[in-house]
C-alpha cells in the first residue's frame, strides 16, 4: 500500500513545488500584471518633460494636476454618468430579455435569441460605425447644445446597446439554477404573478443582477471604439480624452488618472463580491 502511495501521481500541491512550474506561473503573472504595476509606479514619477520612461524621483504632483485638469475631470464625470445610467438601463433590459427567453415559448424564439446575442459577437468597429450613421440620420449627433447631461444621450444609448446582451447572458445563466417549483409554491400560497416576481424570482436573481451591473459598468467605463464613433466634440469620455492626451505626450498625469480608474474598478469589484457573499448567507 505504502509503495503504491509513493508512486501515485503528484497532487495539485506537489506540482506547485516544481521550480519550472513556479517560474512559468511567475512569468504568466508578470505578463498580465507588470504593465499595470509599471503604470501605477510611474504615476508617481517626477519627470518634467518628454516621455515618462525614466524614473526621476517620487512625487504626487501629477495626481494634483490630474484632479486639477478640468477637461479630464469633465471627461471623467461624463464617463461615470454614462456608465451609471447605461448600467441601470442595460440591467433592466437584460433582466426582461433573460426572463422572456427563459420563461416563454413563442414563434421565432431561436431567431430572437440569436439577435440578442449579436452585439456580443459583431466587431465593435462595425457597431460603432452603424450607431454613428444611425445617430447622424436621426440628427442626434450634435447633441452638444443640449446641455449636460442630455448631451450624453447618444453615447449612453450606444452603451446600453452593446452592454445589455452581456447582462442578459449573465442573468439567464442565473435563471438556469432556479427551482420552478418555488415559483409555483408561491402561487399556491396566494401570490400574484407580480408578487412572485418580486418575492421569489428577484431575490434569486440578485447575485446575477449585481454581477451583470458590474460587468455593464466596467464595459461602459472603459469602452473606447464605440464611444469614439458616437461622441461629439463636446462630449468626451475618459478613455477618449486619455487617447487624445497620449497623442501629444505621455505624462505621469495620464498614469495618475488611469491609476484612479483602476482603484475605482477594484473597489467596485470588491463591493460586488461582498454583496454576493451576504446573499449566499
Amino acid at each position: 500500500m505504502k509503495r503504491l502511495h509513493r508512486r501515485a501521481r503528484p497532487d495539485a500541491f506537489d506540482y506547485s513545488r516544481r521550480w519550472s512550474l513556479r517560474a512559468l506561473f511567475a512569468l504568466g503573472c508578470a505578463f498580465l500584471y507588470a504593465p499595470i504595476v509599471v503604470l501605477i509606479v510611474f504615476s508617481f514619477n517626477d519627470s518634467r518633460r518628454g516621455g515618462n520612461v525614466i524614473w526621476k524621483g517620487f512625487t504626487t504632483e501629477y495626481y494634483v494636476k490630474a484632479f486639477g485638469n478640468e477637461e479630464l475631470m469633465l471627461a471623467f464625470g461624463n464617463s461615470l454618468t454614462i456608465a451609471l445610467v447605461s448600467t441601470v438601463f442595460a440591467v433592466l433590459l437584460g433582466t426582461l430579455t433573460a426572463v422572456l427567453l427563459w420563461r416563454f415559448r413563442f414563434p421565432f424564439k431561436p431567431l430572437v435569441e440569436g439577435l440578442v446575442a449579436l452585439p456580443i459577437v459583431i466587431p465593435e468597429i462595425c457597431l460603432g460605425v452603424a450607431l454613428a450613421i444611425f445617430f447622424t440620420q436621426l440628427g442626434w449627433m450634435n447633441t452638444g447644445e443640449l446641455g449636460w447631461p442630455f448631451n450624453l444621450t447618444n453615447i449612453t444609448i450606444a452603451h446600453i446597446t452593446f452592454s445589455f446582451p452581456f447582462a442578459a447572458l449573465v442573468i439567464r445563466t442565473r435563471l438556469q439554477g432556479f427551482n420552478v417549483e418555488t415559483e409555483e409554491a408561491a402561487r399556491d400560497l396566494g401570490a400574484s404573478e407580480w408578487r412572485v416576481f418580486l418575492d421569489i424570482l428577484l431575490p434569486h436573481l440578485r447575485p446575477g443582477l449585481v454581477a451583470a451591473a458590474l460587468l455593464c459598468f466596467t464595459l461602459s467605463l472603459d469602452d473606447f471604439v464605440i464611444t469614439f464613433f458616437t461622441s461629439g466634440p463636446d462630449t468626451v469620455t475618459f478613455p477618449v480624452k486619455i487617447y487624445s492626451m497620449v497623442r501629444f505626450s505621455v505624462t505621469p498625469e495620464i498614469n495618475a488618472a488611469s491609476t484612479v480608474l483602476i482603484l475605482i474598478t477594484l473597489v467596485l469589484t470588491w463591493a460586488a463580491l461582498r454583496c454576493q457573499k451576504t446573499v449566499k448567507g
Binding site: E181, T182, E184, A185, R187, L189, H204
Partner: protein
Amino acid sequence: MNEPMIDDEPILSIRNVSKRFGSVLALEDVSLDVRSGEIFALLGPSGCGKSTLLRIIAGFESPSAGELLLDGHDLVRLAPNKRPINMVFQSYAVFPHMSVAQNVGYGLKLERVGKAEIATRVGHALEQVRLGGLGERMPGQLSGGQRQRVALARALVKRPRLLLLDEPLSALDAKLRDAMRLELVNLQGETGVTFVIVTHDQGEAMALADRIAVLEGGRLRQIGSPQALYHRPVDAFVADFIGTLHAFDVTRLERISHVELRVEAEGLGTFTWPGTLPPGAAEGVQGVRGFKAAIRPERIAVALEPSPGPGRMTVAGTMGDIAFQGQHSIVEVRLPGGRSISAIVSGDEATVLAPHPIGRPVHAHWAIEDVALLPERAA
C-alpha cells in the same frame, strides 16, 4: 386531539376530467370524489397521469374537459393563488432566501394577516411539525426532512380545505420515511385537513391512505380502501400493482354447477374452482383471452414431497434461490416451461428447505379458494 372526521360528503368532486398535451392524452375521463377528512392517494406508475391530476387540482394545469368542484363550487376558473388548496411540492420548494418563519408566514403575509397573528400561527404550525425554535434558521442549514416539515407547516398554516402532497416520502431515507409516514397520519388527524397524496409507491399509499385511486395510462382503474384493492382487485393490473401476483393465462372455462367452474390455465393444468363465471367471460371457449388465474405469494406453501390435501392444488417444480428476510423468507420455485414463482414462507419452513440444493424437485401448493380469476384489464 380531534378524531379524524370522515363522512361521505365529497369535499372535492372530479367529474369526467380529461387532459390533452398536444397529441398525448394524459388523463382520460377521470371521475372521483374525495371525502372530507380522509387521506386520499392517487397511485400509479410514472406517466399514469397522477401528477397531472394533482396539478389540475392545484390549478397549475387546466383540464381539457370535465369539471372540478370544491365544496360544490366550480374550481376550474379559479387561479391557483385563489384556491383554498395548498400543496407540498416534491422538491419541497422552500424559499432559500427566507428564514423558516418567513417561509411559513409568507402565505399569511399575502393574506394581509396582522403581524402578531402571523407570529402566533407560524409558531403553532412549527410546533405542529416539530420544528419549534428553528424559526430563525435559513433553509440552507436544514436537513431534507426538516425542509419537508417547513413545506408542510407553510401549507397547513393557511388552513386549507385540501392539502396536496406530491410524493411526500420518496426523497427521504428508509428510516425517516417510516417516521414521517406516521407523522403525516397523525398530522391529518390533528388538523382534520383532507389530504390528497400522489405516489408511485404502493406501500406508501397502502400505509397512508384511507382510500386509493389506482391510475394507469391516464385512466382510473379502481378506487377503494387498501384492503379492498388488495383482496378484491378489479383486474390483474391492479392486483399486480398492489403487491406481488403470480398470474397464469386461462385457456378454458367451463361451468360445472352454479358455484363451480372447471378452469384450464397455462402452467397450472385443469382444476375445479369454486365461484361463478366472471362477467365478460365466455364459457367453454378454447383460448379464452384476457383472463388470469392469479395467486399471491403469501398464499403459496412449498413442500419437498407432494402433499395433496382436500381443496388444495399442487404444482411441481424445482427449487430456486431462498432470500432470507428475517421473519420470513422468499422461496423461488422454478416451474417447467421457464417461469418461476415466489412463495413467502415462515422461518421454520425456510429452515427445512434451506439445506436442499438448487434444482431439487419441490412442490408448490395452495388452497384453490385463494386463486383469483381476474380479467387482464377491467373494462
